[in-house]
């Protein structure tokens, strides 16, 4: 199975029905699949922090929310993750294209790429790192269950090599 298709299927399997997104070159196809799905509300946003706010509201409204973003957006979202998500115990699936990893062609992506796991650790956000489409199919629904039960965000880091599949 192809990587984008696997991520989309895994989102469906998890029961996610509300997705906000900011594009990354690697997430383009997943975003298209989500956008065409009548059972998912898809909201393109202007900045990741805003996306987290919208998803918190959607969760209050009974939805199962996820954000699709590049890892750079994590830097834009540190405060909302701490002083909204951690404070009130709100779940969300954070699906990140992890740039600045092995195979990166753009040196500008390296600093935030390297900082990403440390930022997640500092926020006490658990994350999983599927390496293949098969692993994504298995781990993404598990990650949502973990998020819902633990009432906390869970991250999915999809490195550059993942998207070569």
């Amino acid at each position: 199975m192809e990587s984008s298709e696997a991520v989309y299927k895994a989102i469906k399997e998890a029961g996610i029905d509300f997705v906000v997104s900011l594009p990354c070159v690697n997430l383009g196809k997943v975003m298209e699949l989500v956008d065409c799905d009548e059972n998912i509300i898809h909201v393109p946003v202007t900045r990741e922090e805003e996306g987290f706010g919208i998803c918190a509201g959607a969760f209050f409204g009974g939805k199962k929310p996820a954000i699709l973003m590049q890892n750079s957006g994590l830097g834009n979202s540190v405060n909302v993750l701490a002083s909204l998500y951690e404070l009130y115990k709100i779940p969300i699936l954070i699906i990140m294209s992890h740039r600045g990893t092995e195979g990166e062609f753009m040196s500008a992506q390296i600093p935030m790429g390297k900082a990403t796991p440390g930022v997640l650790d500092a926020l006490n956000i658990a994350y999983l790192n599927p390496k293949t489409p098969e692993e994504a199919l298995e781990l993404i629904p598990q990650a949502w269950r973990l998020s819902e039960m633990g009432e906390a965000p869970v991250g999915i880091l999809l490195e550059i090599t993942f998207w070569k599949n």
Binding site: R47, E50, G53, I54, A56, P65, S83
Partner: protein
Amino acid sequence: MERIEAIKEVAESLNDELVICNIGFPSRELYAVKDSPTHFYMLGSMGMSSSIGLGLAMSGKRKVVAFDGDGSVLMNMGTLVTIFSQSPQNFILVVFDNQCYGSTGSQCTYTTKIDLLKVAKSIGFKNTFVFEEEVNFKEALDAEGPVFVHIKVKPGNANVPVIDMEPEEIKERFMEEVKKGS
């Protein structure tokens, strides 16, 4: 008018509507004048009231009113574009504009130089209201959303206590209320 009076006017005209209330003194003032399970009080994440309100409005049919401030809107202005583009009919954004960061010592904001109502209109908001001397919130409640309400208030905070509820208690009570109405 004082902000707490404006908050009271709006809160008293609400019944079944869900309210997301901005961090700091606005939440404390709302809690002091009227508490309800329909209220979600923000204790952090400045700037997010409008966005939380948008996500909530898009997830159901019930009317949602987000209480915001000038400093907070300036911090998250992009979301005005998202609100307009998604255009939920059941969403009202109310900006209590005191031209300052009231909860941190009343430092001036740039709404001393720019008009947020003009910003909202230029984005495309069709139903906009501005109130200064008195607040006729019923008009805004009857209008089709998304509605932008600009309420000009004096700087300063009322002498009201902090909210004596735990964050989880605020969330759980609110979510129970949301569930009831859906």
